[in-house]
């Protein structure tokens, strides 16, 4: 029973949502799902937050490595709950939107989360470079193609690409590297993306059917006590 009911729920809800697309009176059911999901996610958040606190308090108690930083995390988390749930410093008071400009909560976002976010994001510039150094090597035929494509596009994005091929007359401007770069983006890239997208969506169809039909039931975990 413990397994049958969830399998039935999956089957029932899945089938219903598939057909709802074709039945106008049911057309809003998809939205309802999003609503349910949001609510379930908030409840689940209590589990997540509880876990976060438990893990860091555990580290603290056992004096595990770096336990000091756990204190920082716990303080940060608690502080955000404090200023956010009580809407400290919110110009509109408790009734206003929690992210109203000027509230402590939003200031924390602007001055702490925001720089952290954008710096973490900016690390990509470095990793793009180290990945190109290592990955774009002519190890075999596929890697060579990858390398050439990347190199042509990179060249096309700098004045160098134009300088190298500036001697090509305008009537043959296609062969100038920046134009070739654009052409590759419009033809090869489009074709590859299209094949990938078609493949993905067929994969989703089969995957979804396996889930709905109960062929795939890993997500339910084991048979017993659970």
């Amino acid at each position: 029973m413990k397994r049958q009911i969830p399998l039935f729920i999956t089957f029932f809800v899945g089938t219903l949502l598939i057909f709802s697309v074709f039945i106008p009176p049911m057309e809003t059911w998809g939205e309802n799902f999003t609503l349910f999901f949001d609510i379930i996610a908030v409840f689940a958040f209590f589990l997540g937050a509880g876990n976060l606190v438990r893990v860091h308090v555990g580290k603290l108690k056992k004096r595990k490595a770096d336990w000091g930083f756990s204190i920082v995390t716990l303080i940060g988390f608690g502080f955000m709950l404090f200023v956010g749930l009580l809407k400290i410093g919110n110009p509109g008071g408790i009734a206003a939107d929690v992210t109203a400009p000027g509230s402590w909560f939003q200031e924390m976002f602007n001055y702490v989360i925001n720089p952290l976010q954008s710096t973490m994001y900016a690390l990509l510039a470095f990793f793009v470079a180290s990945a190109s150094y290592r990955a774009f090597r002519a190890k075999n035929r596929e890697a060579t193609i990858l390398l050439i494509a990347a190199f042509v596009i990179l060249l096309g994005r700098t004045p160098l690409g134009m300088l190298l091929t500036a001697w090509i007359p305008d009537s043959l401007s296609f062969f100038q590297i920046p134009n070739m770069a654009v052409w590759i983006m419009n033809s090869f890239n489009l074709a590859g993306q299209r094949a990938i997208l078609i493949g993905i969506s067929l994969g989703v169809v089969a995957m979804s059917l396996r889930l709905i039909l109960g062929v795939e039931r890993t997500y339910l975990g084991g048979d017993d006590n659970g």
Binding site: D66, V98, V112, L124, A191, S201, L220
Partner: protein, 212 residues
């Protein structure tokens, strides 16, 4: 306040960047701050939006809300080991709904429309526009058709990649590799602008070294 904020931002920025050299206490501190503050941020935002906003503010408006709430409470049953298995119900609900929702959505937006757009004449810039394409476009059109076809052959599972089929699949890989290489190269510029933004902040707003 403004000045103080810039110092904080610079402290955090440099802390994260220091990770590139190696893991260190400064990075660990920034990481701990980041995790604690951002987890709290999202918790609060979700609380006000999804719990307070939906239940207190729009009280009783939509009976569907309570179905959601019941599913949410079932989720919390995990905390009681004896009846923890009930939490599988909302999970099963989400999985079923996701599967059903995605199946048809992906099918219509990706399979149908992508296949539909492969129906393209070789010698024209568009459907129904007569023979008007330049050599540039014609080669492009043929490349798109061949690339899509061979790419699909590559993904085909039911046949070993041998003989003519294998050769076609090879061409497919060739197209995929060009795709990946090209998009990698094309993205470099946008990744660099993120870094330019941060360096601009450090040298400009923080150190005041940029005169403009």
């Amino acid at each position: 306040m403004e000045h103080f904020a810039i110092w904080i931002a610079a402290f955090l920025t440099l802390g994260i960047v220091s990770f590139l050299y190696k893991d260190n206490a400064w990075y660990k501190l920034c990481e701990a701050i980041f995790v604690g503050i951002s987890a709290g941020y999202w918790f609060v935002v979700l609380f006000w939006d999804n719990l307070h906003g939906k239940f207190w503010m729009g009280k009783g408006e939509d009976p569907m809300l309570y179905v959601g709430a019941i599913l949410g409470i079932l989720m919390l049953m995990r905390l009681i080991p004896k009846i923890g298995w009930i939490s599988r119900w909302p999970l099963a609900f989400i999985v079923g709904a996701t599967a059903g929702f995605y199946l048809i959505n992906y099918f219509s937006s990706d399979v149908m429309s992508q296949v539909g757009s492969t129906v393209m004449p070789f010698f024209s810039t568009g459907y129904g526009s007569g023979v008007n394409a330049s050599l540039y476009d014609i080669i492009g059109n043929i490349v798109v058709a061949v690339g899509t076809f061979t790419g699909l052959v590559y993904f085909y599972f039911s046949k070993e990649h041998k003989g003519a089929f294998g050769a076609t699949a090879k061409v497919g890989i060739f197209f995929l590799m060009v795709t990946f290489g090209a998009s990698f190269g094309y993205t470099v510029m946008s990744r660099m602008s993120l870094l330019i933004g941060r360096v601009d902040f450090l040298f400009g707003d923080f150190l005041g070294m940029i005169v403009q």
